[in-house]
């Protein structure tokens, strides 16, 4: 529930966001949730990848082409509650309108490559010349210093994890690196660092009256998470690598098979207290493994013994049983399991908000929760170009005639076919997924 009387922490802050995919959009969404007016600057010539992905159920529907850029579920996952402003920055008129907006913004946030930003004339020097008080936060793959070796190198989500060592750390010790194929933790870690940097920049502005330039080189930012392994290599020459699901700190810890096809449980019982409980549940014949050093030394044997026990149980039942006696465990959730996760449902992890094209849409909540000033979702996600006119008019102070001229000069664009409305195929049963939203259709 949103209490509009509460002033949110970022109310009054306006963000100019040049984002694509994850790293900068995820940060901008967080700021929008906490009250900032986030202007997502979009292009039709080189669109954000989430505008290209579209939706499985709309494929082949040429009649819905105008709506397609609004239908990827990643649009709200990365952009809920922002305003979409269609500006073609490579045109002189489009760039001029962008600078007029920048003059009215507090934060500039971008994850375009450093060279691409410079070529657009939107590097820090150019932007701060227009707005010296700007908090300018950029997230290039390899930093914004053109003299550095990888300045012009390309990197994006799936390539960043191998680069920073995460892929080598992923997999069982005897296998080739499994890699992190499905998700992109470095993008999100960069986004969270960018949020810290932006909030620090706003604090800096309050304290000094000055703007600031923050360069979040995604390469460097993600490496900051490897500290102890870097130190150990420097001290002892040890090159840490993948160890499956095991822990350096105790045993057992692992993923064990359960009854059924591809059902697994994750268990961390690395301290003596957890081991005592687990071993008595397992009814081990002797106290062989009661010595923690022996458990670490003989993990192969220990794990296989646990696996022959867990395979007798339903994964979720066993997780409940283990947690009831204080052992950290959870079913290895499939995406289908998450649909039925009563815990996340009880916490309203999936949210519903109105959407100009879809009527309403479902998306994930924000993991950062403030009790006194809870964030809000004003919108599931902007339709491409939905707010071009209102933003150029209300923020940049352009007249309707000037805006229309800019649009016909192809320096800007507005939402296509606003009258084309396409509810998602599952719209009728959203209330089953998000309790309490049966009446939300009129949002």
């Amino acid at each position: 529930m949103t209490n509009s009387a509460i002033e949110l922490p970022l109310e009054g802050i306006r963000v100019f966001e040049l984002g694509t995919a994850i790293a900068s959009p995820f940060c901008g969404r967080l700021m929008a949730h906490y009250g900032a007016d986030v202007l997502k600057i979009e292009s039709r010539v080189s669109p954000d990848v989430v505008r290209i992905l579209g939706s499985a159920w709309i494929k082949g529907r040429d009649d819905l082409a105008a709506a397609a850029p609004d239908t990827s579920p990643y649009v709200p996952e990365m952009n809920a509650s922002k305003r979409s402003v269609g500006l073609e920055l490579k045109t002189t008129a489009g760039r001029k309108a962008a600078l007029a907006l920048i003059a009215e913004c507090d934060v500039f946030l971008a994850n375009f490559g450093a060279r691409a930003l410079a070529e657009l004339g939107l590097d820090y020097e150019s932007v701060s010349a227009v707005n010296p008080k700007i908090v300018y936060v950029q997230l290039p793959g390899f930093g914004s210093d053109p003299d550095m070796p990888y300045y012009s190198y390309v990197a994006w989500g799936p390539n960043q994890a191998p680069l920073v060592g995460f892929d080598d750390f992923t997999g069982h010790a005897s296998d080739p690196p499994a890699g992190i194929a499905t998700v992109a933790p470095p993008d999100y870690m960069s986004a969270l660092h960018a949020a810290v940097a932006t909030l620090s920049g706003l604090e800096h502005l309050e304290l000094t009256g000055d703007g600031v330039h923050v360069d979040v080189s995604q390469f460097e930012t993600t490496l900051a998470l490897l500290g102890p392994f870097v130190m150990d290599y420097d001290l002892s020459g040890t090159v840490h690598s993948r160890i499956g699901n095991r822990s350096l700190w105790g045993a057992p810890q692992g993923v064990y098979p359960c009854a059924g096809h591809e059902r697994w449980i994750a268990i961390s019982a690395t301290d003596d207290e957890s081991w005592d409980v687990l071993s008595s549940l397992m009814k081990l014949p002797d106290d062989h493994f009661d010595d923690p050093d022996l458990r670490l030394a003989q993990q192969e044997q220990l794990d296989s013994q646990i696996g022959t026990w867990t395979v007798n149980f339903d994964a979720d039942d066993l997780a409940h049983r283990l947690q009831s006696v204080g052992v950290a465990a959870h079913v290895v959730s499939t995406n289908e399991d998450l649909l039925h996760d009563t815990h996340t449902m009880s916490r309203n992890w999936y949210q519903v908000a109105s959407h100009a094209r879809l009527g309403r849409d479902v998306f994930s909540d924000c993991a950062v929760k403030l009790k006194g000033t809870p964030g809000r979702w004003t919108d599931a996600g902007p339709s491409l170009g939905q707010h071009t006119r209102e933003v150029l008019r209300d923020v940049a102070g352009m007249s309707d005639e000037e805006i229309s001229q800019l649009v016909s000069d192809k320096g800007a664009f507005e939402q296509l076919e606003p009258e084309t409305l396409v509810p998602r195929p599952w719209d009728d049963w959203i209330h089953l997924l998000v309790p309490g939203t049966a009446d939300a259709r009129d949002l």
Binding site: P177, T182, V183, S346
Partner: protein
């Protein structure tokens, strides 16, 4: 200037779940006081250890994550000392549920921001469940989808503890937001981070909204992904490289590279420009690409691939990262002093600013600042 949070007093009672947050906070100027029991924080007992140093000062997790902070030992039952130190807290980080907390809320001023990082959040049927990095990934859908199909699922970069660092970074974001709200309201408040949600938030790829859309069961696909070809990890002379070819121009450049390096002209035939054809012939494409990669080093493939505009990166190992030419030229690596006076390499500041924000000092000895704060 000093960091923007200079003058702010932060109390940290957490272990690994909050440590990355307070390290960043300290780097940005905050005065971070770690309250430790007499035998030290649990972080002090985490391997790897520095061999030349005796416990409880030898953990490299402590030496890294506690940098910039101060250590105050509170004896069990010494509520006067606790009250004294809490009375001036702007922020307190905790990793326990309120009913298990060591902190009596009455000792905290109304202006204190109370940040709790707990396994499954402060509410809901699993609120008292325990967790770990592995368990958090299990509850996020990511674990199931990571690894080879014929092997047990594996956590992403397991012992790097990414799910915990994501929780900590989220907790710092929440804390900074709450401090901003305090500037307006004068009031502190509760910040809540569920470790499960911190992991879910960074994994929409396996989340419900995406599943509703495509109804595709997320399978483990090993180190290659069926989104394109080549797409994933390919063996080379000193390990692996990652090659991601999705865009038509990336394929054209890739095919010419393979043709020039291996004499394979077939790969440049027009038919393979179709992504669908490449997917149908993926074993063949992979074999051809491997003929290029197996004879060359990670760095050579990285530099040449990038020169050709293809998203190629090395699958780096820790030793290779310390030798990386870009990181060296950018003077990224920093160092810290261990208690025996030796210097050791560490990652530098996580981001760079044109204002002088970032400062770091060595991690404190157990109880190093007890006298200063309580004496």
């Amino acid at each position: 200037m000093a960091g923007p949070y200079n003058g702010l007093r932060v109390i940290d009672t957490t272990g690994l779940a909050g440590a990355y947050a307070t390290r960043l906070f300290a780097g940005l100027g905050a005065e971070v006081i770690r309250l430790e029991p007499p035998d030290g924080s649990p972080l002090r007992y985490l391997a790897p250890f520095a061999e030349s140093i005796a416990p409880p000062e030898n953990s490299l997790w402590w030496s890294y994550l506690a940098m910039g902070t101060r250590s105050v030992v509170i004896e069990p039952g010494d509520n006067d000392s606790l009250a004294q130190i809490l009375s001036s807290a702007d922020v307190i980080f905790e990793d326990r549920l309120p009913e298990d907390s060591l902190i009596d809320p009455d000792l905290l001023p109304d202006t204190t921001v109370r940040t709790s990082i707990v396994p499954f959040g402060l509410t809901g049927p699993k609120r008292s469940w325990k967790s770990s990095n592995l368990v958090a990934w299990a509850a996020s859908g990511v674990l199931y989808a990571t690894g080879f199909r014929d092997r047990a699922p594996v956590a992403p970069a397991g012992h790097v503890q990414l799910a915990l660092h994501a929780s900590a970074a989220s907790a710092l974001v929440g804390t900074l937001l709450a401090l901003r709200a305090r500037r307006k309201s004068g009031e502190g408040q509760q910040v809540e981070i569920s470790m499960q949600e911190a992991a879910l938030a960074i994994a929409p790829e396996t989340g419900v909204p995406v599943f509703l859309d495509d109804r595709v069961h997320r399978e483990r696909s090993g180190n290659r992904r069926d989104l394109g070809r080549p797409f994933g990890l390919y063996p080379c002379s000193d390990g692996f490289v990652s090659i991601i070819v999705l865009l038509p121009r990336h394929w054209t450049a890739m095919a010419s590279w393979v043709a020039e390096a291996t004499g394979n002209e077939t790969i440049t035939e027009e038919v393979f420009e179709d992504l669908g054809v490449r997917m149908e012939t993926q074993d063949l494409i992979d074999t051809w690409v491997e003929e290029l990669t197996v004879g060359q080093s990670r760095q050579a493939l990285f530099d040449e691939g990038q020169r050709r505009g293809i998203p190629v990166t090395p699958v780096n190992t820790v030793n290779a990262l310390l030798d990386d030419p870009h990181l060296k030229a950018a003077k990224f690596w920093s160092e810290t002093q261990l208690p025996d006076g030796s210097s050791v390499a560490i990652p530098g500041a996580p981001f760079r600013t044109n204002a002088d924000w970032w400062t770091m000092t060595a991690a404190p000895l157990l109880g190093q600042h007890t006298e200063f704060y309580l004496g």
